[in-house]
């Protein structure tokens, strides 16, 4: 397809990378990614994906911007308080890169819309803020065969895992059952630092750029964790569980469909 002069000017520094180059750029421009959550993780992730030239970005979030979001949700500014996060994000990303398509989806991921919402994207980034959504995203991505970049952060720690459905460990292979509400701490109760969500969100974007651009080795079967007290990264190997309830060897599509449909509304 070839790149225009404008594109060469804009993307020149990444075109210089031999691993990426014109081929990687052309792949990105044709690619699409859905971001679940326009918060602390989705903000940096969306900025880097838009800036890099991913052709179509879907932004999913039902919440409005609040003052308490701004210390970490760097897509939104003070003026955006009270406005829907996806509208605020869409405006910012369009200003950053007018050549890409940015779709604002002002809704939550639910059993009733998950497959429809995710279906038209090449890849999904989960930067949501609760476990039911995370498991639903995982299960729907396994069902649809979509790569999923899972990222999470709280307090001063974070973790990232790339999931290649049926080829690498999914969220349920690593943590078989979702915790009940209240079993895990939330940022609302426990706090989080913006630089930590920034690191995790940027790494999520990086994983997406690798997969969509067709270079590097995905962070699959390796759960990468960040400890923000010592500023240390550590990875633990994880593996696909042949007995996994969604991506296991003997699971039928109809079984996963049932799990997705049974997902609690969140």
């Amino acid at each position: 397809m070839g790149l225009s002069q404008d594109q060469v000017r804009r993307y020149g520094r990444q075109l210089l990378l031999p691993e990426f180059g014109v081929r990687g750029q052309e792949r990105l421009l044709r690619a699409s990614a859905l971001l679940i959550g326009m918060g602390g993780l989705g903000s940096p992730a969306a900025l880097y994906l838009a800036a890099a030239g991913v052709g179509r970005l879907g932004l999913l979030d039902s919440e409005p911007v609040e003052a308490g979001n701004l210390h970490r949700q760097v897509l939104h500014d003070t003026q955006a308080i009270g406005r829907s996060k996806v509208d605020s994000a869409q405006a910012r990303l369009r200003a950053l890169n007018p050549a890409i398509e940015v779709v604002a989806l002002r809704e939550r991921l639910e059993a009733s819309n998950a497959l429809r919402v995710l279906e038209s994207y090449d890849l999904v980034l989960d930067g949501s803020d609760n476990m039911p959504t995370r498991y639903l995203a995982n299960d729907a991505c396994v069902l649809l065969g979509k790569p999923l970049v899972h990222g999470a952060a709280i307090r001063l720690q974070g973790q990232v895992l790339t999931i290649l459905p049926r080829r690498s460990a999914c969220l349920r292979c690593v943590f078989p059952e979702p915790p009940q509400a209240g079993e895990l701490p939330s940022c609302q109760a426990e706090g989080v630092l913006g630089s930590v969500t920034g690191l995790i969100g940027a790494l999520m974007a990086h994983e997406a750029l690798k997969l969509l651009g067709g270079f590097g080795t995905p962070l699959a079967d390796r759960l990468l964790t960040f400890d923000g007290i010592a500023s240390g990264w550590r990875e633990v190997p994880v593996r696909r569980d042949p007995q996994c309830a969604v991506c296991g060897d003997h699971v039928q599509t109809s079984d996963i469909r049932r799990i997705v449909h049974a997902a609690a509304a969140v």
Binding site: Q157, P179, A189
Partner: protein, 93 residues
């Protein structure tokens, strides 16, 4: 007494801020008991009331998930490294 246990960030306030502590035990279950003796309050964050590992916490011995070994009966020895890795939900804001 030379099994290194890596403590996840949120539990480090129960281990005086230490990211790694030394504990004893012949199995993971024994090790978690010793961890609780040395740092009261840690075990209830890792195990439920019946002593079973919580569903959203994984324990790795030398980078192998104990679910794929003998669970909390997995044998350990001096020099082993045990990592405790909980799931993270995130925001809720």
């Amino acid at each position: 007494m030379a099994i290194t246990v890596r403590i996840p960030t949120p539990l480090q306030r129960l281990t005086n801020g230490q990211g790694e502590v030394q504990c004893d035990g012949k199995t993971v279950a024994e090790l978690l008991g010793d961890l609780e003796r040395r740092h009261p309050g840690v075990k209830e964050r890792i195990c439920d009331e019946t002593g079973k590992l919580r569903r959203f916490v994984n324990v790795f011995v030398n980078e192998e998930d104990i679910r794929f070994m003998q669970g909390d009966q997995t044998a350990i020895k001096d020099g082993d490294e045990v990592s405790i890795i909980p799931a993270i939900a995130g925001g809720a804001s």
